[in-house]
Structure formats: C-alpha cells, structure tokens
Amino acid sequence: MITRKQLLALVGFVILGAIIIWIGRDDPSQRPKIEEQPPVQTPVTQPSTQSDFNQITLPHDDPEFPPGPGRELFLARCTVCHSLRYITMQPNFSKKVWAKEVAKMINTYKAHITGEEAREIINYLATVKGTDQDGASNSKLK
C-alpha cells in the first residue's frame, strides 16, 4: 500500500523532474550560436599545387613496466590520454612529486581516477620511478 506521505513525495518528485526537464530543455535561443559563414564557393575541382592528400600512420610502442602492486591499475588509468613514455621519460622523482603529478592528471586534466586508486598508483610509481630519502635512484626502469 502506498501511504499518503509516499504519494505526496512521489508527486513532488514528478513535479521536480518536470521542472528540471523544463529548465534543461533545448531552447533554440539558448543554443550557442554557430558563426555565420558565407557558403563555400570554391568547388573541389580547383587544381592544386600539391598533392591533395597527406596521410601518415603513427608508430606506437609502449614500454613495459615491471610487476608489482598497483601495476594493473597504473596501466589501466595512465594510458587513457597518452603513452606510458610520458612516465618513462621522466627522471626518478620523490613520492611527493609523483603525488603532485597524479593529482595534476586528476584535477587539471580531469582523469577519471579515485583517491583510493591514485594512492595505489603513486605507490607503484614511487617504487618503479622513485627516489630514496637521500635522493638516490631506486628505479628499475631506464
């Protein structure tokens, strides 16, 4: 049985939903204006002074990373936007610097990484590309 209270709440939700849909509706006057451009007059037949196409195929070759806790998460999260060479090219850094870097990926570049995951990845980075207290390298990567 639906109580009176639940019914009221339900009606409330429906009204709220309608308001949200109304606010978020696609109002043509609110759409970003597409810059008006004159129609393109040049047909595609004009003779070109050079070849009409240029196409390249980029080679890829991600480096491998050593096994260890956090490796899979690191590989899954840190290859979304760029190659792992962004990490291998760095010198060894303290954990503090790696924490800043990972925070930058999340805060500045909007990487989808939770705080918990970030901690695990930072620990992994501090192990494979880290520095000891005295600054000496403990990297197994070049």
Partner: protein
C-alpha cells in the same frame, strides 16, 4: 572534486602489499627475463631502436631518426649535429604535440582555414586561395620549445625531458596574418586573436589547445600563416598544411595544423593561456622550489642562447692540430652582437667570429673560433652570446617549476687526444 597531493601520499595499510625488497626482486627477475623493453629492448617494431644508454631513437613518417621522448602523442628531439646546418632540415625538425588526437590525414579539397569572430566579413579559405589571393612572404626564424633543455634543470622538473634539441631554424613562407585580418576587416575594439589547430583533446571536458596573441602583435608585419617550411610543404608532424609563425616567440604560439583564427573583442581565456605555459614574472623567470612565484605571466619572447655544436662526438680533436669550435646563437630578434668562447670552463673568454647575418635577425647566427689545443686532456668548452639590445648569457641559479626558458651558459667537456 579536487584531490590534494598530500592526501594521496598516505601509504596504504600494508596488508597484502608486496614489500619493497620483494618488489625489487621481482623487478630484477623481470629485467633479467627481458621483460623490461623500456631499458634494453629488442623492438619488433622497427620504428623504435634503443641505443644505449637509455636513449631511444625513432623514425616517424616524413622524419629522420630522431630522439624519442614520447610516441602518443609524438614528441621527437633533433640530434644537435643537425645544427651544423643553418637551416634545420624538415625531416630532422623537432616534434611536439600536447594531445594524442593529432591530425594524421588531411584532404586539401575539404581543408579550410577560417578567419572569424570580431570581423566584418568572416573568411573561409582553401589552401589554394590562401596561396593565390595573398602575397607570399618568407622569413627565417628559430622555432624553440618553451621547455627546450628542461632535462638540464636541477632539481629536475616533470615535463618533456628535452636536451638541447627542442628547437630548429627554418625558412617559413606563407601569408602575413595581417593581410588575412585586414581582408576579413577587424572591427574596432578588437583585443586578442586566438588560434586553433586540428588537434583535439582526448576527453570532452579538456580544453582544446588554443593560443592567443594581442591584436597589435597579430597585426604586425612578421607574424605569418606559413604553408611552406624550407621551400617544401610542412611535414604532417610539424603542422601540415598551415602553421602560425611567430618570430622571436616560443613555439607554443606557433599553432600547428592551423584551422581557425578568431578575433576577439575581449581578452582570450583558455587553459593553455591562463593555466599552462606561465612563467614567474621577473627578469629571468626564476623561482625556487621553496618559494614558488605567485605572480606569473604567459611565456612570450625567447631569451638569448648559444650552443656549441662542434666539436662533438664522433669528432676527434688532436693536440697540436687546429680544430674549429662552432656553434649557433639566437635571441628574440634584436640580433646577436657578439659571441665569446671559453675552453677552460669560463675562466678566460675569446671573441668568436660571426658568420654573415644574411638570414635575418630571427635566424640562428653561426659563430666560429679556430682552436689549437697544445696538450691532450679534458677541456671545458662554453659559449656566451650578447645581443644588440644589451642582453647576455650568464651562469646563475636558473630554475622554475615548469623548466622553461633555460639560457644559462652551457658547458661541455671535450677530450683532446
């Protein structure tokens, strides 16, 4: 949600975590079993060759073998022996993109350059129209990454770990930006002009790579929209088919695969102008790790630099024989007035002779000094350049957190046999 770096560092409760020692055992086992292709690899992909120690060279389309920083997106460095030529060959010119979504296919039948925004008549131009409806202009100019030589800063900073090869000198030919803007008719009250290329951000909520110049700068004679580099079409990785050329300014403004120019009636705001490529607002753009600058400005004109390019490996310098010390110098366009060379780590300096300045004030200027070392041993070679507007290179504690604008006197050891 903003995550604080400090909060991310708390070590997790150990639990089942592998200890560091165990980890290193695992790691070295893996290294021995050849799993570490990062250090000494036998790549199946022939585009990548690891040359010891730790430096990978790569061959990308339309490119010679260059030093590999990253592959996706590509960042490739020019080996410095190429700077023995005044104009850096297109195939050896360094490559630097920010986002993996770079153009790899361009059909000139559909490619258009748009000039719009705060103008009377927006333009939409094909490459042919650009070439045939506007006067062509050429300029020789150095294109240098803001972070060139970043790997030499101490303490080391994150970012592209360039040595000295994130630069090149080329003859750029194209149309004056000014001519395009005048054809479009800049409306009064214009403040900035923004430039966007065909590269795309990897996620929808990341800012497109867009840069801006002030309207006065954009209307100056020297800024070009170039369709040719050393009299050839630009390589795809250097911005085919069009690239903005901003002589004297760092390469971050030289937008590649330029497709959109927009005149703005207000100051441009965007991540790549407001948050990235900022330098401390002081004469040498310096700060310290303990005391980071709070007052910053967008990076802009290049400072004066010089680099000895010869002798270098594999040149042999013999005691009693005459060798030539040779290098290049440049600044943001005031021009090089003098270069001095030291062979004893900066204790004594001698004036080098400068090659003609026929390539213009934005070009590399070559310097030479004959050198006859009397005895074998190690020599510390260094060079320092002076400019027509009174600037010169020094040795000082030059550091900033982004690793920009390095221009201290560089020293290099040469062994005489």
């Amino acid at each position: 949600m903003i995550l604080k770096p400090e909060e991310l560092q708390d070590p997790k409760p150990e639990g089942d975590a592998v200890s560091r020692r165990r980890f290193l055992q695992l790691a070295s086992a893996a290294a021995m079993s050849g799993a570490f292709s990062a250090c000494h690899s036998q790549y199946t992909n022939t585009s990548f060759i690891s040359v010891p120690p730790g430096q990978t060279v790569a061959r990308f389309p339309e490119k010679a073998e260059l030093l590999l920083l990253t592959d996706r997106p590509p960042q490739l460095e020019t080996p410095i022996h190429y700077f023995r030529e005044d104009l850096t060959p297109n195939e050896a010119f360094f490559v630097r993109w920010h986002y993996e979504g770079i153009p790899t296919y361009i059909d000139l039948r559909t490619f258009r350059l748009k000039v719009g925004g705060h103008v009377d008549k927006p333009l939409t131009l094909t490459l042919d129209e650009l070439k045939h409806q506007f006067d062509a202009t050429s300029i020789v100019a150095v294109n240098q990454c803001s972070g060139n030589s970043r790997s030499l800063f101490l303490p080391r900073v994150p970012g592209g770990q360039w040595k000295n090869g994130a630069m090149g000198n080329a003859r750029w030919t194209g149309v004056r930006l000014k001519d395009l803007l005048q054809r479009a008719g800049v409306k009064s009250g214009a403040v900035d002009v923004s430039f966007g290329g065909l590269d795309e951000a990897p996620l929808f909520n990341m800012s497109k790579f867009v840069k801006a110049l002030g309207i006065e700068h954009a209307l100056s004679d020297e800024v070009l929209v170039a369709y040719s580099m050393n009299d050839k079409p630009l390589p795809m990785l250097n911005g085919f088919p069009l690239r903005l050329v901003v002589p004297g300014w760092y390469a971050t403004y030289w937008v590649k695969s330029l497709a959109s120019i927009k005149v703005l009636p207000e100051k441009f705001h965007g991540f790549w102008m407001d948050k990235a490529y900022l330098i401390p607002k002081n004469a040498d753009a310096v700060e310290t790790p303990e005391n980071l600058a709070t007052d910053t400005v967008p990076i802009n004109k290049m400072n004066v630099r010089s680099l000895i390019v010869s002798p270098d490996l594999p040149d042999l310098v013999r005691a009693g024989a005459t060798a030539e010390i040779q290098g290049i110098a440049f600044d943001s366009g005031s021009g090089i007035s003098k270069v001095e060379v030291s062979i004893d780590g900066g204790k004594n300096w001698q004036a080098a002779t400068l090659d003609s300045d026929a390539l213009g004030k934005y070009s590399f200027r070559r310097f030479r000094l004959p050198w006859t070392p009397q005895s074998s041993g190690a020599y510390q070679l260094a060079s320092r350049a002076y400019t027509n507007d009174g600037k010169f290179q020094r040795v000082f504690d030059q550091w900033n957190k982004s690793g920009y604008m390095r221009n201290v006197i560089e020293q290099r050891e040469v062994t005489v046999i």
